[in-house]
């Protein structure tokens, strides 16, 4: 099948019976948009963008919260030959200063010529024009519809199609440049015979944010390229009432829906018997699970709870993907219950080998297979030297093929490093068994909570703003006790001699204000605990090891302070361990 550019795909979709549906908070249909109507609207938005002085090839930031307006703006820009860069909209209007501080760096990196937003947000986002020199205008989508374009822009497959900012921290944003070819290859693989095998009769439902790769590419664009139909529910509507998602699947007889692991957990915990009375989930043939580590116990609990209302465990599709690979990397075969590999936990973490274990319990870690790469795409596992490892040996996951991105915008060194030797270095750790991929950790120190990536540096910066915290002596990391989700821990030192007081509480408050993330534990450590090094990464690795090994003693409770039990003895121990760990790392190479 010939690959289509995004504007060509919108035109082709307009000739199908497909389209998008937009749901109200309670899950009822609020409006529908056939792809023919969407093309029409996109062409008038495209005309409006040209009227506003924007030229093909220029980038525009798209900051639009509502699905319908977002998709029309995004596709309108594409039809006009512009390169849209979707960015997170502000969650709260009363904290727009913090939002602007966080968003300006991404707009700057994107070199956007304009920001497209809504009339409501335009007043706030107007400041971006003053902050970012490339931005010539901040435009409201409601007033953008201009003289309809006569035709879509004649872009080429190897031109950039859009910028993804789902990778990278807010203070150091990385713009992933994807081409029309990347997008077409990946969505063709997702929809095709080794993917979802989508047909005209398939119907999707998604509550994933559209400025996130899984929501935008996985649902909206895959359905567009294939010419079928999907509904959109707002993320908040799902988070408020998870049962709404399942009710929509049941009512619309949806066949495809993707969500991160936490969403399935939320349904297990929050959906009440009264919500299940009229549910019939037998139509749901692909329940995709991705964007964060997939947990065997979550899938098992969900399948058990919803078996009575027609859910089949064979519908689960645990998958692996990343923004630098457009989206999807591996899928397991359709209609197969999740394949779970029970391995020896100790061997996995210390020897980096996945040794099958039949003991069960705490000594055993259960990992879920994410399947195989698509045709024309390769996955290999590399050791520290870069050489490929044998099956069941843990190393970095490297990827190759037509879905691999072109590079980070304006970051040649970083792009070269990430794409060294012709392979995309995912930063994730995993192993292969029987040719299937199991993901078991990260090389990078990203923290993933509820499907969103958080960067320690952003949390550390927020914590450092709090009075009484010693600058440069703040470390944030994620830790995974047992098989639970990442817990976020901040370890910090107070300014010398100052009693801790309510420091931990103030740090938690400041971090949630600045980043929206709730820190699970703040440890106020004695002076000299946190090693002084220029590498934040090394600092985090060491402190996390001490924390996990129990060297940093902590009482129970949500927020807690370190107890100074045997402080002297402990610091001796701490440095002895750190030294040993460094030596091991030196032997092991760059990991």
């Amino acid at each position: 099948m010939a690959l289509l550019t995004l504007p060509e795909a919108v035109c082709a979709a307009a000739r199908t019976g497909g389209g998008y549906g937009y749901l109200a908070e309670d899950g009822r249909t609020a409006s529908r948009q056939s792809f023919a109507e969407l093309l029409d609207d996109a062409l008038s938005i495209g005309g409006g963008l040209h009227d506003a002085g924007l030229r093909p090839g220029e980038t525009i930031a798209v900051i639009v919260p509502e699905a319908r307006d977002f998709l029309t703006a995004f596709l309108g820009a594409a039809c006009a030959g512009l390169v849209p860069a979707p960015l997170y909209p502000p969650a709260r209007l009363d904290q727009f200063e913090a939002y602007l501080r966080q968003t300006a760096p991404a707009v700057r990196v994107s070199r956007a010529a304009a920001v497209v937003t809504t009339t409501g947000l335009r007043r706030i986002l107007g400041a971006l024009q003053a902050d970012v020199s490339t931005v010539r205008a901040v435009l409201a989508i409601e007033r953008l519809r201009g003289a309809r374009l006569q035709a879509v822009a004649p872009v080429k497959l190897d031109d950039p199609v859009f910028l993804q900012f789902t990778s990278g921290s807010t203070s150091d944003p990385k713009g992933v440049v994807l081409t029309h070819r990347n997008l077409a290859e990946n969505v063709t693989a997702i929809a095709g015979p080794h993917g979802l095998r989508l047909t005209d009769t398939d119907r999707g439902i998604s509550w994933l944010p559209l400025f996130h790769d899984m929501g935008l590419i996985g649902m909206a664009l895959t359905v567009l390229y294939r010419g079928c139909f999907t509904d959109f529910l707002s993320p908040l509507a799902f988070l408020k009432r998870p049962a709404t998602w399942l009710r929509v699947i049941s009512r619309t007889r949806a066949t495809i829906s993707f969500a991160p692991n936490f969403a399935y957990d939320l349904c297990v915990r929050r959906v009440q018997p009264r919500d299940m009375a009229d549910l019939d989930l037998s139509c749901w043939r692909v329940a995709g699970c991705g964007a964060e580590p997939v947990r065997a116990e979550t899938l098992a609990a969900f399948a058990k709870k919803f078996a009575d209302v027609g859910f089949r465990a064979e519908a689960f599709l645990p998958s692996y993907g990343m923004a630098e690979h457009t989206l999807a990397v591996t899928f397991p075969p359709l209609d197969r219950a999740p394949r779970v590999d029970a391995v020896n936990a100790e061997q996995l973490s210390s020897a980096r080998r996945a040794v099958p274990s039949s003991t069960g319990g705490a000594a055993c870690t259960e990992l879920v297979s994410c399947g195989r790469p698509f045709p024309g795409h390769d996955v290999r596992i590399a050791g520290p030297s870069g050489r490929s490892l044998a099956e069941r040996h843990v190393g970095q996951i490297l990827l190759r093929g037509p879905s691999v991105f072109r590079g980070y915008l304006g970051r040649e060194d970083l792009s070269r490093e990430t794409l060294a030797g012709g392979w995309l270095h995912s930063g994730d750790l995993g192993y292969l068994a029987d040719g299937e991929l199991y993901v078991c950790g990260r090389v990078k120190d990203t923290i993933i909570v509820n499907g969103r990536n958080y960067y320690p540096h952003d949390l550390e910066q927020a914590a450092s703003d709090v009075e009484g915290v010693r600058k440069g002596r703040v470390v944030a990391f994620g830790t995974q006790p047992g098989t639970g989700r990442d817990r976020i821990v901040i370890v910090l030192e107070p300014i010398h001699g100052q009693p801790a007081g309510d420091l931990a509480e103030r740090v938690r408050g400041r971090v949630i204000e600045a980043t929206g993330v709730l820190v699970d534990e703040v440890v106020v450590a004695p002076s000299g605990t946190i090693p002084k090094t220029t590498s934040g990464k090394l600092q985090r690795v060491r402190v996390r090891q001490w924390y996990e090994s129990g060297v940093l003693l902590r009482p129970r409770g949500v927020t807690s302070r370190v107890r100074l039990v045997g402080y002297l003895v402990r610091t001796q121990l701490v440095y002895a361990r750190a030294h040993a760990a460094d030596m091991l790392r030196g032997l092991a190479g760059r990991h």
């Binding site: 908070e25 309670d26 969650a91 709260r92 009363d94 707002s234 908040l236 509507a237 988070l239 408020k240 009432r241 939320l266 929050r270 009264r274 509820n450 509480e505 938690r508 408050g509 949630i512 929206g516 709730l518 949500v558 927020t559």
Partner: protein, 97 residues
């Protein structure tokens, strides 16, 4: 949409103590651990709620009182007192449409 207990729908504005007490009951259930919140306790910093728990709390309040808290009002509920006030004003709207 609503849970079984919607008796507040038909009532005149209930006295402040009743609403406050019922909000606390819901709060403790969502919290899943013993807490003694005050009116000015913040959900996030004092009670350790993440954004998911805040939304669960709001959904439970809707079921308990038979109200709908518009999603754009959710971010304004930062403290226990604000939750109580939000419920009170939505109940008042229901009674005097």
């Amino acid at each position: 949409m609503f849970g079984e207990d919607c008796e507040y729908l038909a009532m005149t504005p209930p006295d402040a103590d009743t609403v406050g007490r019922d909000v606390l009951t819901v709060l403790r259930r969502v919290c899943r651990r013993p807490v003694e919140p005050a009116a000015n306790s913040t959900l996030a910093a004092d009670l350790g709620f993440d954004s998911l728990q805040t939304l669960e709390f709001v959904a439970e309040l809707e079921d308990r009182f038979g109200i709908i808290v518009p999603i754009d009002q959710v971010p304004r509920i930062q403290t226990v007192g604000e939750a109580v006030n939000c419920v009170r004003s939505l109940l008042a709207e229901n009674v005097h449409p």
